[in-house]
Assembly symmetry: C2
């Protein structure tokens, strides 16, 4: 008798058509989360997934309703009680299909043409959800090596407004060894990748108050500190001339990049010229001792997102504004926290704001950075699985953005490891969204390997 892994891989090969048929059913549901007219379709997709989980044998399937659209939760226990728990994340909502003219096929119908599958959501990310469920089905048929939990949200394309509420309300339900999030794409069909880090966020509104009311600059100018100028002075001091953030203690919690990690990051294809061209800025900028890719993914930043003070209309008004406001945000990296970032900023303001004005800091949203060590068992297991299938070491990728679900899971102690099987030309969010079928099938096989590899990793 062959070992379960081989049985599961054989199961995948035998059931390709079934997997495609299932994907076709899900693609046919126009679960456009941003469009109130498709509210019922979004729910239909949630229920379709819930049914699918029940069909797989899930003991518990729940639709959590705290958000705008249902969040599907389910659980599939392995026989071995002490196996690790993999929380599989996905979102079943999609972007609108408009504009429709450029589509060569009906967006809400799965169409195969040569080695591509077409349809809204095949890449982002119904195809990824179904790859994960296909792998789960296969390993379940052959012998389930790990516990599975499922978290399928219907709000990703609208910024996950309800996810924090659901996760806080049902914290225990989502407890897991880690989360597998297959919503990250690939750089190339030959370059499987693992995203092991995302930046966090801390967002503030800073107010500088001066006079009790706007003043006439002719009568007061020269003897009253102008709050707009004071704000500029305070903001200007937040970076040194090399683009480093000067807030006291800002970098204290930053986990240094090891030479090994830098070596791996250097392997991630990154075209600095194309980056600059996309930005349309006159030049690159930032910490000179880091590559551009490192600056935007592995280094924390401080940005001024908005400025408002005094007179901003047409023409001229000679006013000394009573106050000035800046929206300020920081992208955070491990092991920074929004709380520590706020302390840094307050310390800076305490030291720096002169007695000629007063300051007020409003702490707005915060999200912790997400990070998984490259030698963590789930990273090792996934890397090995991708290598087995693709016959090459995967890329180890850091992303500079902040994904709400990843941050919220991090907050409740569940680290995420991200991968995915959509190619750069997948046209996610655009017309003719597509999935490269051979890559997708490789992905399913890789996930089968991944689940079995996890069994062998030393879990605490």
């Amino acid at each position: 008798m062959t070992e379960p892994r081989q049985q599961a891989l054989a199961y995948v090969q035998q059931h390709e058509d079934d997997f495609l048929a299932a994907l076709g059913e899900l693609i046919a549901i126009p679960s456009i989360s941003t469009d109130p007219q498709h509210r019922k379709d979004v729910r239909r997709a949630a229920e379709w997934l819930a049914d699918r989980l029940r069909a797989l044998g899930a003991q518990q399937v729940v639709l959590f309703e705290e958000g705008v659209h249902p969040l599907v939760y389910g659980e599939l226990r392995a026989e071995r009680e002490d196996a690790p728990t993999v929380l599989i994340y996905g979102h079943y909502d999609v972007q609108p299909a408009e504009p429709l003219e450029p589509w060569h096929t009906p967006p809400f119908q799965l169409v195969r043409h040569e080695d591509r599958l077409y349809g809204r959501g095949v890449a982002d990310m119904k195809g990824q959800v179904m790859a994960a469920l296909a792998a789960v089905e296969a390993v379940r048929a052959a012998g389930q090596p790990v516990h599975f939990k499922f978290l399928f949200e219907g709000e990703e394309e609208i910024g996950s407004p309800g996810v924090a509420r659901v996760l806080q309300a049902h914290r225990d339900a989502f407890a897991a060894s880690f989360c597998l999030n297959p919503d990250a794409g690939m750089h190339d069909r030959d370059m499987p990748s693992i995203t092991y880090s995302l930046r966090g966020l801390a967002y503030f509104e800073l107010w500088i108050h001066g006079p009790a009311h706007d003043l006439h600059s002719g009568l007061y100018g020269g003897a009253i500190h102008n709050p707009a100028q004071a704000l500029a002075e305070i903001l200007a001091g937040m970076h040194d001339e090399h683009g480093r953030v000067t807030l006291p203690g800002f970098y204290d919690l930053v986990r240094p990049l090891s030479p090994e990690e830098r070596r791996r990051l250097a392997q991630v294809p990154f075209d600095e010229e194309a980056f600059l061209e996309q930005a349309g800025a006159p030049a690159l900028w930032g910490e000179p001792e880091y590559s551009v890719y490192e600056r935007i993914t592995a280094r924390p930043t401080l940005e001024v997102n908005g400025l408002l003070s005094g007179f901003t209309g047409e023409g001229s008004k000679t006013v000394i504004p009573a106050r000035a406001m800046a929206k300020i945000s920081m992208r955070l990296v491990a092991d920074q926290t929004p709380e520590a970032a706020a302390v840094s900023l307050r310390r800076y303001l305490e030291q720096r704001v002169p007695p000629t004005v007063r300051w007020e800091l409003i702490e707005m949203v915060g999200a912790p950075p997400a990070y998984v060590d490259l030698d963590a068992p789930q990273v090792q297991a996934l890397a090995q699985a991708l290598q087995t299938v693709w016959q090459r070491e995967p890329l180890y990728v850091r992303s500079g953005g902040t994904i709400p679900i990843v941050a919220e899971l991090q907050r409740i102690g569940v680290p995420s490891v991200l991968t995915g099987f959509a190619l750069p030309d997948a046209n996610a969010h655009g017309p003719n969204e597509n999935l490269h079928l051979p890559t997708w099938l490789k992905g399913i096989r890789a996930l089968v390997h991944f689940f079995y590899n996890l069994e062998n990793e030393p879990w605490k």
Copy 2:
């Protein structure tokens, strides 16, 4: 036979009632320039003044119509052809009388109660116009020592929108040795004053451009210079830590304050505590080597009047703004010019703006500073006149604001000397606006002396 000066002073004494009756006629015309319903009243006041000038024997009386309301021009030549020409400025428009409840008398009726005259405009500035015309009438009856020109505008209370157009269009008509502007008040009934300097203005809009469009701070943050931050850095560098402006050459044209001038400025009553309280700011600020009064009147300044960039609404948006804007104005002192100030700013920007962003400077309004040397003949003549009547040296006052008519006259080569006979409790713009009758009569006598004193001054 007594000399003309004594005859004129006697004329004033004999015609007090006539002067009051004339003032009463002008006060009765509700020439509220801001209220379209009073448009005809404003014109009526202009025509009343034109008639008055004709009655005085003015050879030329014209209503210039380039502005919103008529500007009354007139000329009264002296016999001696080589006498200096005094351009007498006044505005015949007034503020609305509302709110009416606090008035103890009908606002558009001249009422005498004890030693005060009440009515809208008695202080600001119909009473001052009529004081000047009374003095002109008296010296004309006794022997006119100087040429007179008259410039009575009807737009002062709405910011003199048409004055520049009229002055540019009829530049030659307004040629004069200097302008007497009796729209400045007194610090106290025992403190006659001469305002010999006003600050000018240069107004700019500075744009800092970075990326071609707003960028996602998660994807670009750390490697693109944020224009809002760059703007803050550029603005912050415009002052040193002592509040001095750092633009190259900014102070080059500033006429230094002589010890004598500083001594005189120190005599002007100025309550720093009351100033700070009115501002409502936490502390005073500015160049430490200058008094607060000097800072706001005799020193040039640079103010940020407005800031706008990126996201300024409720909540948070993690954007790197494509651009950032600041409204910047400078108050200028002699012998700075708006043109030189713009050159200073451009030089600073050329030196300071890094290659990671681009800048654009829009030059908006400009007004030259106004300044008359204290030893100029008109200042000497006026000082002597005030001293003769009040038996004390007048205060020599600098004002920090910019008065459009003064700046426009300065631009066509006519310096202004400002005085006036309204007291601090005159309630200009408020209810129960009033004029202290004995001070007003002293003012008329002082102007008589002034005109005769001018005859003796050595004019170039």
